[in-house]
Symmetry: C2
Subunit: 113 residues, 2 copies
């Protein structure tokens, strides 16, 4: 997945799932770790914005963007690991694995690219 985001089409979508329906019935092993990592990633993006505001050299900014991207890949892998260990096992036990596999495939298509 490498679609072009423009100022016009890149928005945090209003219809982004917010999970208020409580789709999970269980907690993941790495739940707190994932939240901590996402908090740090948010802080890292804020720091990069400050670098741009302060006219830091472009190569330094690009290097930090690459670091955030790696951190996103890393937290994604942790989420995926938790998902396979808990959600997928749940889905199989509830005989709901076909839908679960379809959702996972669609998501992996985007995550792996």
């Amino acid at each position: 997945m490498d679609e072009e985001f423009t100022d016009e089409n890149y928005t945090v979508r209003d219809d982004m799932p917010d999970g208020t329906e409580g789709e999970h019935e269980h907690r993941h092993e790495h739940h707190q770790q994932v939240l901590a990592r996402l908090a740090r990633i948010k802080g890292h993006v804020r720091a990069i914005k400050r670098m741009v505001e302060n006219d830091t050299s472009c190569p330094d900014v690009l290097t930090q963007i690459a670091a955030v991207r790696s951190a996103l890949n890393s937290v994604g892998r942790v989420i995926l690991e938790d998902h396979l260990q808990s959600c997928m096992v749940d889905a199989v036990e509830k005989d709901d694995y076909k839908r679960a596999l379809k959702d996972l495939k669609n998501s992996l298509d985007k995550f792996i690219g």
Copy 2:
């Protein structure tokens, strides 16, 4: 670049360049657009953290992480375009292109991966 970030080694480094030395002598064409995109990316990461807090399904979370990654790639390309159009031209005119090319190469190694 796909190094593993762990809780131990992933921090927003204290020695991250903050550009307070004013390394740029010029403004980029897309300066404001880059700042706006980074602000939206930060908001997007915050929204993903909220999804995890609210136990949104893992495939939905992974999909949004992939979207942020694409947005980072996109803003990186804009920064790179500005850099080539202004910083690199400046460096050549000031006969400082060898250092500029070396910095750019090191950064691209990380950004392109």
